[in-house]
């Protein structure tokens, strides 16, 4: 699909549509949608911003490529004066006091946030069913889940309700819903985009990234939101991404993990289609190497041990004292306990309790510290693999989207379904879901800070398939 951003920009510049008309149309489609993809509409502020763009165009002033372009914001980001619920009961009435850096950069470039999007509460889930706003329905089959945790964001892009959306990816939360809804979704290198104003889940893997219907739109958004941020000391300065590199500079060498593909849990059609993609790449004269990941048995456990430990720590601040819903009790301690028991969903409680279990005396050495060492081992393994190949391809998910309601009954199965996305999160690696090749797309991963190469390979892959 061609760039939605460029198409809308040209329509605005050529006065085929006013910005106010455009925003009204998007707000109407978001409001009427039956997919549970939206938590809050931002009608008043969006229309005020649209008028400014229209006035500028009327005066004959030049507008930037993102000016007047409507986008969605996963409801785990701060946007000053607007709801920031994390799709949770706990924060259902919370109003953000400040704005996340990535969102502010887009607003500064003239893009217009039109809605806060439904997701799994606090990012805790892989289906966008763990939410007080109703399960997000898949854009292509409303009996199936929208994926998660950025399910609402992926559905809004797939249905054309937003030109692009900004999601958060801790263990696959951008890439998996992008695959389930057949759009592009990028988890950048850890630290390329500021996490300031993103509600913390697992601080050591949390990433902010775009979901869009084209690689060109991913490029435009990334070049706006990337960069070092005063408010997030894990960020670093980066150069703009250029998709149109000279062909002679694109000397790809491709790898894939054979133990990922031999996994018994992988759907037979996804496996067949993935291997067909590999053959098509080979047919273009590109070297493809089968690699061995080596620690798939403990991969999911390593991720979840660390994710639960960090989320238990991050969400300890939610006690109903200073913000959020509060249950009244005779003592402060009792107030905390009742507030947290009533405010968190079953899945969030499972992860918080698991995290405290991991960090408690007697378990820290055999679980938490061991998981950290295993992560270190995984990162070193990736470093070694990227001395042999420049791009690693993998499936996005072991199966196609499940029916709504089926995953909630089996949390362990839901955790295991993240097997193909979480390794690259632990590795801090840039990974893009491209909606090509298999029913849930293909993941394209490169070495740390090689986000540009990731997108360039996606462009190549689109042309090959």
């Amino acid at each position: 699909m061609a760039s939605q951003i460029i198409q809308l920009h040209e329509k605005l510049v050529n006065k085929e549509i006013s910005c106010t008309q455009l925003i009204k149309e998007k707000l109407k489609s978001l409001e009427q949608n039956q997919y549970n993809s939206v938590n809050f509409l931002l009608a008043e502020s969006a229309l005020a911003k649209a008028k400014i763009v229209d006035d500028k165009i009327a005066k004959g002033e030049k507008i930037g490529v993102l000016e007047g372009i409507p986008f969605g914001v996963k409801d785990v980001f701060m946007l000053q004066g607007e709801h920031a619920s994390a799709s949770s009961n706990f924060l259902k009435n919370y109003i953000a006091p400040y704005t996340a850096t990535a969102i502010q950069k887009l607003i500064d470039a003239g893009a217009i946030p039109v809605c806060k999007e439904n997701a799994d509460a606090f990012g805790h889930g892989s289906t966008s069913e763990n939410t007080i706003f109703g399960a997000v329905k898949n854009a292509h089959n409303d009996q199936l889940v929208g994926g998660g945790s950025s399910g609402g964001s992926a559905v809004n892009v797939a249905k054309g309700y937003t030109a692009f959306s900004i999601g958060g990816d801790t263990g696959g939360s951008i890439r998996q819903p992008a695959g389930f809804n057949k759009v592009y979704g990028l988890k950048p290198t850890y630290g390329r985009v500021s996490r300031f104003g993103l509600m913390a889940y697992t601080s050591s893997t949390d990433c902010v990234g775009p979901i869009a219907s084209s690689i060109e739109d991913i490029e435009i958004v990334m070049n706006t939101i990337s960069g070092k941020d005063y408010h997030d000391q894990t960020t670093y300065a980066s150069s703009p991404i250029t998709l149109n590199a000279a062909p002679e500079t694109l000397n790809f060498s491709v790898g894939y993990y054979s133990d990922f593909i031999d996994n018994k849990g992988l759907d037979a059609d996804i496996k067949k289609d993935f291997l067909a993609v590999i053959e098509k790449i080979k047919a273009k004269g590109i070297t493809v190497k089968a690699l061995n990941f080596g620690s798939t048995d403990s991969l999911v456990s390593t991720y979840y041990a660390l994710a639960m430990a960090e989320t238990a720590s991050n969400l300890a601040r939610l006690d109903g004292s200073m913000y959020g819903e509060r249950a009244t009790a005779d003592t402060l301690k009792e107030s905390y306990a009742i507030t947290r028991s009533e405010g968190f969903s079953e899945e969030s409680k499972r992860r918080i309790v698991g995290g405290n279990q991991v960090l408690s005396q007697g378990h820290a050495d055999e679980i938490y510290l061991k998981a950290r060492a295993l992560r270190s081992q995984i990162m070193s393994h990736f470093d070694k693999d990227f001395t042999e190949v420049s791009v690693i391809l993998s499936p996005v998910s072991p199966s196609t989207p499940p029916s709504i309601g089926s995953s909630l009954k089996d949390p362990l199965a839901m955790y295991l379904s993240d097997i193909y996305t979480i390794g690259f999160s632990l590795g801090e690696l840039p990974t893009l879901t491209a909606p090509v090749g298999t029913a849930t797309g293909i993941q394209i991963t490169t070495a740390k800070k090689q986000d540009e190469l990731t997108l360039q390979f996606a462009k190549f892959l689109k042309e090959v398939l």
């Binding site: 000053q80 004066g81 109003i95 006091p97 290198t189 850890y190 630290g191 390329r192 000391q233 960020t235 670093y236 620690s295 048995d297 403990s298 456990s301 390593t302 979840y304 041990a305 238990a312 006690d319 004292s321 200073m322 913000y323 959020g324 509060r326 009244t328 009790a329 005779d330 003592t331 402060l332 301690k333 905390y336 306990a337 947290r340 028991s341 968190f344 409680k349 499972r350 992860r351 918080i352 698991g354 405290n356 279990q357 991991v358 408690s360 378990h363 510290l369 061991k370 998981a371 060492a373 295993l374 992560r375 270190s376 081992q377 990162m379 070193s380 470093d383 362990l412 955790y415 740390k448």
Partner: protein
């Protein structure tokens, strides 16, 4: 300390699904020389700034106060008794 106290969640107990994940970690093989500091990270530790204090804007302060679950005369109200 119990999981209920650690988590401040009433009736908190270990979940079977989570226990299954943790048993996999306990059984995982780890080379003897492995430690937590031998991986290279995208973020660099030699580029950190000093902590600095900034005053919030009036709007930010107003929104923070609006989010108080219980307020009296501009002050945040909490339970008088911390613990019995």
């Amino acid at each position: 300390m119990s999981l209920e106290d650690l988590s401040s969640i009433k009736g908190a107990t270990a979940s079977k699904a989570v226990e299954a994940l943790f048993s996999s970690i306990k059984n995982a093989a780890l080379p003897a020389e492995s430690n937590d500091f031998n991986a290279t990270h995208a973020a660099e530790l030699d580029d950190l700034r000093d902590d600095q204090v900034h005053n919030s804007s009036d709007l930010e302060k107003k929104l923070i106060k609006q989010n108080f679950p219980k307020e009296k005369n501009g002050y945040l109200v909490v339970s008088k008794v911390i613990e019995n």
